[in-house]
Amino acid sequence: MESGEGFVLCSLKIPFLHTHTQAQASKLGARNKALIPTDARIHCTLRNINFLLVYWLEFRPPAANEDFGFRITAEGVVQWDD
């Protein structure tokens, strides 16, 4: 929230005051809000990147997929591990 901006609480526009406890739901659009990643998703991507670094800098894939943000289901399907 930007300093000085007002926001609506209980239908009243109250000026921003640091000394008051206020609450506001983020006004990010619903679509964007749904796309913001969880910590698990972020960690998954970061571990994927470690796979990529080995693969593209050492020219061989790492042996253990599970350490690099991938999981393999009982049916043998590879999935993102988040």
Binding site: M1, E2, F16, H18, T21, Q22, A23, Q24, A25, S26, K27, L28, N32, K33, L35, I36, P37, T38, D39, R41, I42, H43, C44, T45, L46, R47, N48, I49, N50, F51, L52, L53, V54, Y55, W56, L57, E58, F59, R60, P61, N65, F68, G69, F70, I72, V77, V78, Q79, W80, D82
Partner: protein, 349 residues
């Protein structure tokens, strides 16, 4: 999927000196052709003979005769060695496409299937097509002078030609043990130890070629990436000039030169954040936004040492990128995750 197309747009715009159009100004002794990408065909190709000529014979002959290469490697994926993690991308690519019914023991039809995409996405059909190419192309090319063609698929076979009209000498080699064609060129580059031309449309050849630089292989690499008739024909990407550009930009952003090829490791990391065949992208943070935040990224990451990302540093960079992208909604210094900041109620004291 290769790398995000916006990265290519960004490189074309910011490192424009590395992209040259028309003629290849310096002859390169060796070349590598990614045959996997050439399995797609235009509507105009209507029979097997045209397919072999248009997609392979004429291309290989162009490398021999026009570009002056004395050794050409034609490469296909060896699916026995493709990383399992690739399956995620492969499944996504096949989604919604009804592949043809074609089994392990089926033979290719006499005529090209009308539904080419649905056919070539059947793994056994594709296998038969690659067999057809590998069996026929070596006898269809006729280079002048002493030249060699290496066909690298599930086996590696070298054909050595003389211009005396005799059949080429055939030498069999051990399989490289590498799965994807786009990684196989690193094997040949290291083996030949000389400058190389690569013909491939996939953008991931650029970071992989940069990876070779980081591994100490300094020979020039040029990638014939696309055809752009408006700009004079073939688009050649000079990887060494891309590397020089990255070194300059990352040094400027970090106020000092990166050590130990840190700029290459960090560039690969940034490509990974935008999504590749092996990394799940971070939504809403485009390559342009990442690039705009380069000083922040460079100063947060330490990429010296082994090729591995510190997960804590990585998470911090991601948080900073989201805070840059959504400054009104995400506080870079909050103890809460970016997700909880936009999902929950924000308490302001």
């Amino acid at each position: 999927m290769t790398i995000h197309t916006k990265w290519m747009e960004l490189l074309r715009s910011e490192a424009s000196d590395a992209f040259k159009y028309g003629e290849l100004t310096t002859p390169l002794p060796t070349s590598f052709i990614d045959g996997q990408i050439k399995l797609m065909k235009p509507e105009s190709v209507q029979n097997w003979a045209d397919f072999l000529y248009a997609k392979f014979t004429s291309v290989i002959m162009r490398h021999f005769e026009l570009y002056g290469c004395t050794t050409v490697v034609l490469s296909f994926d060896d699916k026995r060695h493709v990383p399992k993690a690739k399956a995620i991308t492969q499944t996504k690519r096949r989604a919604g496409i009804q592949t043809i019914d074609f089994g392990e023991t089926d033979a290719l039809p006499n005529d090209l299937p009308v539904q080419w995409k649905e056919s070539i996405m059947n793994a056994w059909f594709k296998h038969r097509v690659i067999e057809l190419i590998c069996a026929n192309i070596p006898r269809l090319v006729a280079p002048t002078g002493r030249k060699r063609l290496i066909v690298d698929w599930e086996t590696v076979t070298e054909y050595i030609y003389d211009s005396d009209g005799t059949d080429p000498e055939v030498v069999h080699h051990d399989c490289t043990g590498i799965g994807e064609a786009d990684l196989k060129f690193t094997h040949w580059m290291r083996r030949f130890e000389c400058p190389m031309l690569i013909e491939a449309t996939d953008g991931d050849y650029i970071p992989i070629a940069l990876g070779l630089k980081a591994a100490g292989y300094a020979h020039p690499v040029v990638i014939l990436k696309a055809w752009n008739n408006d700009k004079g024909g073939a688009e050649f990407v000079h990887v060494d000039l891309i590397h020089a550009f990255l070194k300059t930009r990352f040094a400027r952003a970090g106020m000092g030169a990166a050590e130990d090829f840190g700029e290459i490791k960090l560039f690969i990391t940034l490509l990974g954040l935008s999504g590749t065949d092996f990394t799940r992208n971070l939504p809403l943070v485009s390559p342009q936004k990442i690039w705009a935040a380069l000083p922040l990224v460079v100063r947060t990451f330490s990429m010296a040492g082994p090729a591995a990302l510190n997960l804590q540093q990585g998470k911090r960079v991601v948080e900073l990128l989201y805070a840059e992208a959504f400054p009104k909604h995400i506080d870079a210094f909050s103890r809460r995750s970016v997700w909880s900041q936009v999902k929950g109620l924000c308490c302001v004291l």
